[in-house]
Symmetry: C2
Amino acid sequence: MSQKVFVSAQEVADRAGVSRSAVSRTFTPGASVSPETRQKVVEAAEALGYHVNHLARGLMRNESGIVCLIVSDMATPHRSGLIKTLTQELQHSGKIAMLVNTDLLDGSVDLALRQAIRYRADASIILSGMPDKSITQLCLKNGQRLVLINCDDEQNGPLRINLDDEEAAGRVVTAFLRAGCRRLAFANSEAGTPSLMARENGFVAAARAHGLEVVVARHGGTNYESGRILAQRLLTLAERPDAVFCATDLLACGFIDAARHQFFIRVPDQLCVAGFDDIEQASWASYQLTTFAQPLAAIAREAVSWLESSDAAKPEGQARAIRLHADLVWRGSIRGG
Amino acid sequence: MSQKVFVSAQEVADRAGVSRSAVSRTFTPGASVSPETRQKVVEAAEALGYHVNHLARGLMRNESGIVCLIVSDMATPHRSGLIKTLTQELQHSGKIAMLVNTDLLDGSVDLALRQAIRYRADASIILSGMPDKSITQLCLKNGQRLVLINCDDEQNGPLRINLDDEEAAGRVVTAFLRAGCRRLAFANSEAGTPSLMARENGFVAAARAHGLEVVVARHGGTNYESGRILAQRLLTLAERPDAVFCATDLLACGFIDAARHQFFIRVPDQLCVAGFDDIEQASWASYQLTTFAQPLAAIAREAVSWLESSDAAKPEGQARAIRLHADLVWRGSIRGG
DNA sequence: CGTCATTTTGCAAGCGCGTGCAAATGCCGC
DNA sequence: GCGGCATTTGCACGCGCTTGCAAAATGACG
């Protein structure tokens, strides 16, 4: 490493003929600096190519401006969309996103949170997986904010953002019944995360309220391939379902493709399908999937604004749980509508 | 902010009955510490919940361990796949990824690079957009490594990773000819990035070498919707193409969907299609797209290993340009094969 | 037991920055 | 011109860490 790469505030001060504090104050919003001093400093900084060292600033302020995004399956359409929206929102409020991938091994969420602590991230946002309770406690004890998106847990402290999954599931039942469907099925992954289970349970309960039993099938991860396999399982049943609610759009795409290309079943004529997430592919001509839109923008806004607010005061115990509404996007995979 | 949240090395030292240096050395690989001292320190650190402050460490070492990923359209299948692979590879070598989104406004790549400098990132990896030359110079002057992926530029200093786009385009021509196609078309976005243009130019040149002219159409961004529009333009031509090479899988998906659902053209019977990237959707039953696989793993490995190597010695002028091979993945969108 | 080479340890300086405090400056009315 | 006040400036300390250097501890050997 070369040693004299970065320009320090001292050098700027020397060039501008002021003290180093003046330089520091110039780049600190709300600090007391006369206009002429500021001008001199800004000019010198520009000339020298000076950039405030956020590492050092973070050290002093005890506030790094870093927010850690902890996520698995980040190449998935829904996840990447959420990441995108979050980073935008974070940048918008002057923070920066650190990305930690937890696909590698299990228990790596914990490892990731440790990493976040090392870099003194102001907060961690967990998009997936359920962190161990002990670890979240460690985070909170270290002054980190914690946001859990779609991975509800009863623990206290972090902000939890979830959707009204059960209610959405109820609307699907209504839509299916209106389309004249009677043999309902639910296609789920084996992941068993709270939001997926909420959709399943909500669907089963709502159907039962109308006197219908639901065939539930679960398989593998939340991806396209699982959707295909679930279709093979459900569409070969003696009593073939005429409507299926897939826990996820990705599952739905796989399901539809298998139904169409393997069993030559027409959607929605012979089979109604609903999904969840409203990923981009749901709108593609080959799928035209009726699904629920994840309110990405709202999620990001809630998360970031909570971080901003709790920056000022830190009401330790005042944990919040936010429940957002998922809009139903009508396309062509359910008759009627 | 509460003031006493983090455990410092001093506290660990006190508890372990050693000096602060001993603590520091314990967590510095390769430092001289006796086994028993190390043990005492580790125990005390564990008990107190101590984590090395990477901000402070970065300040001293002049090396933060942060690598900045600068990317637009990050929710796109190909981009998100690359991000995923890169973060994994970075974590694997003890570094951490910082994510900067450049979708917001133009010239925001420059803004992003400034952000990277502020956090004293050891390096920046640019996945999209062409940074201004002055800004890349600023980065290099500030001791940052720079990696440009698929956005070749003649500038010196950074590592440039690209694919053999022209050669790949040549193979498409061969495949199309073997399938008996004669009226070739190329569907491109208006983005005009070097890699897209290389595919276009390579395709046109290779066709010409076989005595064929190519109809080239360009529209909008590199996405599904543009693919549909390009299909509407190319498939209504008097001399309708019987083979089209789409610069990107996303374009190809849109193209195929329009061809199939709007013009009732069968792929590959009446129209051969090739794409580029091998995004997950290319393998879906509705597309079965023959395409070129981006060697994501190789790209990530090259980038990260270069960062590691140039960590040690910094041969300023020794810029490297790497050209990787894109494997052709045969599926069903070209006859024969 | 003394001498010297080797390892381990502590001291202290310094990385680049923010900020409390006191000194300096400017301004106003008398 | 001068006291009183508000604003600006500089000094110096500390944030948590690494590391060169010298002192202390350890071990080997005659």
